[in-house]
């Protein structure tokens, strides 16, 4: 690669955490918010595969100015302000479970690398100078750069740091680390072997060849804590103390590990970052050809603020008034922002996020939802093509499985529904037990009363419309819908987490099998034993961000019976874990393709949730913000990276 980097620097920095699966919201985030932003936001979340029709061979960094031009022409200074409606509990590097928190942490710590393409070693190297995959696909070796320093006197980040974190934090039972499952592979959860090769090199070894392991190795997306900081909590096994530690919660130990330093966090208001003086990557912009030259000076803004807005509409008014520089635009408002002279609208059609209508098949949901015909009926009622066309104004791609149509594995014969209400009524009658049926136009239950379902979601402009549409359509098939709006945090905590015993189940017997296993707090046990704190039937807002290169992992994680994110209580009648393993241990990615496509086809048939769409994201910028990539995004690897953006006159126009 040449000594290239245009100041737009379309390196997919959100790819740092690569293929970790995130709980994400469709429209709660107005601005850039990493993987969680999904629906109405801007940032790509992971890499796509080269086989897709839309894949481009264009190198996003190709049209880079020469170093001299770059240094001379990029004005520095100003405060770049971005609006968000997503809340977060801080920059807790140890408690990343959602994209919001991940996005905040990534401002102050880079992580291992960003993926630039499908080839294993096609990466943008950040903390990891080298990323080498063994020919037999059993080992990945990473070498850390030699100038990575924690702050607050915690010393250098070394191989020892990573190994200590693996052993004492990331895989320790007492920490309940969200991504602990990434540290083992295979059906039997065989642990990955981590070995210190030298001071800066770590070797990860899996028991058998796995073509997807280079995409799924865990270290590239992790943020290690300094040993000296975490050791007292490890000694006491005090996870509560660890996550409440000020340094951990605000990631103030970040040293030179990221482009920004957190200077002020006013809860429910703003996070203010200032340009890091000693960003480690600047040195490598000069010495490593793979690091764009722009990074010799990046970031170009003096400060970067993430401003919280409770109302999306206020955020957009602030952008119009020139008080905010970047804000996400909901699909139904795009027309208002096209052709404006004072703002630039950026379009990103490659968003690896699936929106869907969640269905609670656990014991505290309507018991008939476990019947596939009822879920089919719901798929007619909540018609994804109508939602994409009319509610999202065509700014979304319809999906009938957990994969975008532009992705490499979308099945050609995915099951679709035409939105027929007559068909929905028929399926409801057929699919429910005999004590359900129609009384006139009303669908009644065993007690003779109309069936009432509860929808929970986070209110925003598009999800309010989605909810209204669902209510109206359910009403037409004789079912009443109660809607409950809540916050993102509450949705995760009270509705998506299932670590509560179902009625009549004792606390100690909630897990799976004889060993009472709990895959995670989101899937704490079998559907008839573990339930959410509050009952619900249907759920909007929450969807999933994932890497299209590795859908087998996401499918299994979300819908495998004993897998981490199966909060829905879906019980597949096929061995998804086995299929995932078949794909993962195939000779090559090509040979795994058929299995992965089959998994996605199976989901399409089963409809564990009502698949809806993957969004096209729009972001509006003030017109004095320069360094944006070309719109629409040319490929999945193009990113809107504010680290290499700048104000055309060096200062914001306010």
């Amino acid at each position: 690669m040449s000594n290239d980097s245009e100041p737009t620097g379309q390196v997919d920095q959100s790819e740092r955490r690569r293929f970790l699966t995130y709980l994400s919201a469709t429209g709660v985030v107005a601005g850039l918010a990493g993987c969680s932003s999904s629906g109405e936001s801007t940032e790509t979340a992971a890499a796509t595969a080269s086989e897709t029709a839309v894949q481009t061979t264009e190198d996003p960094l190709e049209s880079t100015p020469t170093p001299t031009e770059t240094e001379q022409s990029i004005p520095e200074g100003g405060v770049f302000k971005e609006a968000t409606t997503g809340t977060t509990n801080g920059l807790n590097a140890f408690r990343i479970g959602d994209g919001e928190t991940s996005d905040r942490v990534e401002q102050v710590m880079d992580g291992g690398f960003a993926r630039k393409g499908e080839a294993y070693e096609d990466i943008f190297p950040m903390w990891f100078e080298d990323f080498t995959v063994s020919d037999d696909l059993t080992q990945v070796e990473v070498t850390l750069r030699d100038n990575l320093q924690f702050g607050n006197g915690y010393g250098q980040v070394t191989a020892e740091t990573y190994i200590w974190n693996v052993e004492n934090l990331w895989t320790a039972d007492w920490t309940s680390f969200t991504y602990s499952y990434l540290f083992s592979v295979g059906k039997d959860n065989e642990p990955i072997d981590f070995e210190k090769v030298d001071d800066l090199t770590i070797r990860m070894t899996v028991p058998e060849p796995r073509p997807f392991f280079p995409y799924e190795e865990p270290l590239g997306g992790m943020f290690p804590l300094p040993r000296e900081l975490a050791q007292p909590y490890v000694d006491d096994q005090n996870v509560e103390g660890l996550v409440k530690d000020e340094e951990v919660m605000r990631s103030t130990f970040n040293g030179n590990l990221g482009p920004w330093d957190l200077v002020r966090w006013s809860q429910q208001s703003v996070m203010e970052f200032e340009r890091a003086d000693d960003y480690y990557l600047r040195k490598w912009a000069e010495e490593d050809d793979r690091v764009p030259d722009a990074y010799a000076e990046a970031p170009f803004f003096d400060e970067y603020h993430i401003q919280y807005f409770q109302k999306q509409s206020t955020a957009r008014q602030a952008l119009k008034a020139g008080e905010i520089d970047r804000v996400g635009i909901p699909s139904n408002k795009v027309a208002n922002w096209q052709g404006r002279e004072d703002t630039t609208l950026y379009e990103n059609p490659f968003v690896s996020f699936s929106s869907y209508l969640g269905i609670n098949q656990r014991a505290n949901g309507w018991d008939q939802l476990r019947n596939k015909k009822v879920r089919y009926a719901l798929s007619h009622v909540y018609h994804n093509e109508f939602v994409a066309t009319n509610i999202l104004s065509g700014h979304a791609g319809v999906q009938n499985t957990l994969h975008p149509k532009w992705g490499p594995y979308y099945p050609d014969d995915a099951v679709s529904f035409d939105g027929s209400l007559d068909e929905a009524r028929r399926l409801l009658e057929e699919g429910t037990s005999s004590d359900y049926g129609y009384s006139g136009d009303t669908f009644v239950g065993p007690d003779g009363e109309q069936v009432e379902l509860t929808l929970v979601y986070v209110s925003d402009e598009t999800d309010d419309l989605r909810a209204a549409y669902l209510k109206k359509r359910l009403g037409k098939v004789g079912i009443a819908l109660n809607t409950t709006t809540t916050s993102w945090t509450s949705m995760l905590g009270n509705y998506f987490r299932t670590n509560n015993p179902a009625e009549g189940v004792s606390e100690g017997s909630v897990g799976y099998g004889s060993d009472n296993a709990h895959p995670s707090t989101y899937n704490y046990g079998p559907w008839d034993k573990a339930v959410s704190a509050k009952p619900w039937d249907l759920m909007l807002t929450l969807g999933f961000s994932y890497g299209p290169l590795t859908p087998a992992g996401t499918v299994t994680s979300l819908f495998g019976e004993r897998e981490n994110f199966n909060a829905y209580g879906f019980t597949p009648d096929r061995d998804l874990v086995g299929m995932r393993e078949e794909a993962r241990t195939a000779e090559s990615i090509e040979t795994a393709r058929e299995t992965i496509t089959e998994m996605l086809r199976y989901l399409s048939e089963e409809r564990p949730v009502v698949f809806e769409s993957n969004p096209i994201n729009y972001t509006a910028y003030r017109d004095d913000v320069a360094g944006l990539p070309n719109s629409p995004a040319a490929s999945y690897f193009v990113d809107q990276n504010h680290d290499v953006m700048y104000f055309s006159d060096g200062k914001p126009g306010r």
């Binding site: 703003v270 009270n494 670590n499 606390e507």
Partner: protein, 326 residues
């Protein structure tokens, strides 16, 4: 009267104690999610859930007799150890200390302005009822009462913030920290929130004081004062207002709390002000129990303390009220 005030102060403490005790009762009677989580986590790693429950109870002093726990609870409350807020990732007391300034900076001016201007306009309207001035003031009053805060705020943002760019469209919490609470930049960004809140509270104060003043206008003592040649100013301020202020003062604390609950929660959401209103709203929505409890208790304490001040104000405003024998 001193005895009365002393008794009222003592009663204030009793009322606070009752509020705290009721809260303790509710907490004790509620399921403990922490205990449930701890038990399940232990079970997850193959340990005995019963033992884990006991360990959790021991760690959190839940195994102690209820009297001991009650004592500890009261000590915690008095020493301001009110727990951890999940929604803000900070302890409750620092959370309140962070937030209250952002609310007070506009709520206090609104209260003062609406009281002074509202009472002034009310008195004037009462003095010259059914005139153009009275009708105009009444129109303004009804407009302020009728118009929804959230709608009015959005209209002002669009008109004055976006179109004219006269004032900021949202509140930047960094400005008072960096430039000072009384800096021009901070005052400028408070114009819209204060205006919106003022319309409602001013209108309410004006209509209420007008009604009270009208009642007093025909009282015997006013006629006597008039007959003795009291000036218009003296008549209205020293005689009418003083008497009208007795019932008005009873609504003062109510007004303050009304501004908070009906105004701040909405205003702070729209203008992105990180004050008590937004904090309380978020705490409720996110079911952040310690923070909800704290904001509720603060409100209760405010109401109790406010009532004490009101009772004392009666005596000062109207010497005929004698609590000497009570």
């Amino acid at each position: 009267m001193k005895w009365y005030i002393l008794k009222r102060v003592l009663w204030t403490f009793v009322a606070m104690w009752i509020a705290l005790t009721l809260t303790f009762g509710l907490i004790s009677a509620s399921p403990n999610p922490g205990q449930m989580r701890a038990t399940m986590s232990c079970a997850a790693v193959g340990e005995n859930p019963q033992e884990c429950r006991e360990q959790f109870r021991e760690r959190n002093n839940l195994d102690q007799p209820v009297t001991e726990r009650y004592k500890n609870y009261m000590v915690n409350m008095v020493t301001l150890n009110w727990g951890w807020s999940e929604s803000r990732s900070q302890y409750v007391i620092p959370a309140i200390l962070d937030a209250w300034r952002f609310t007070a900076q506009y709520a206090i001016p609104v209260l003062v302005i609406s009281t002074l201007v509202g009472y002034g306009l009310g008195l004037y309207s009462a003095y010259k009822p059914y005139t153009v001035t009275d009708y105009t003031a009444s129109f303004v009053g009804f407009f302020g009462i009728s118009i929804p805060n959230f709608w009015f705020a959005l209209v002002l943002i669009i008109l004055l913030g976006t179109r004219v760019e006269l004032v900021p469209t949202y509140y930047q919490s960094g400005i008072p920290i960096q430039q000072g609470w009384l800096s021009l930049a901070n005052l400028r960004q408070l114009i819209l929130p204060v205006t919106v809140l003022l319309t409602a509270s001013l209108a309410w104060q004006m209509r209420y004081s007008r009604a009270q003043a009208l009642e007093q206008m025909n009282a015997e003592f006013v006629k006597v004062a008039k007959a003795k040649g009291a000036s218009q100013y003296r008549l209205m301020i020293w005689h009418v207002l003083r008497m009208a202020a007795v019932p008005l003062s009873t609504s003062f604390v109510g007004s303050l709390l009304a501004i908070f609950w009906s105004g701040s929660v909405i205003i702070e959401q729209i203008f992105a002000i990180p004050g008590l209103g937004l904090m309380t709203y978020t705490a409720i929505v996110e079911q952040d129990t310690p923070l909800v409890l704290a904001t509720t208790l603060v409100t209760v304490f405010l109401a109790i303390f406010g009532n004490l001040l009101e009772d004392i104000a009666y005596v000062i405003l109207d010497p005929r009220i004698d609590y000497g024998n009570r």
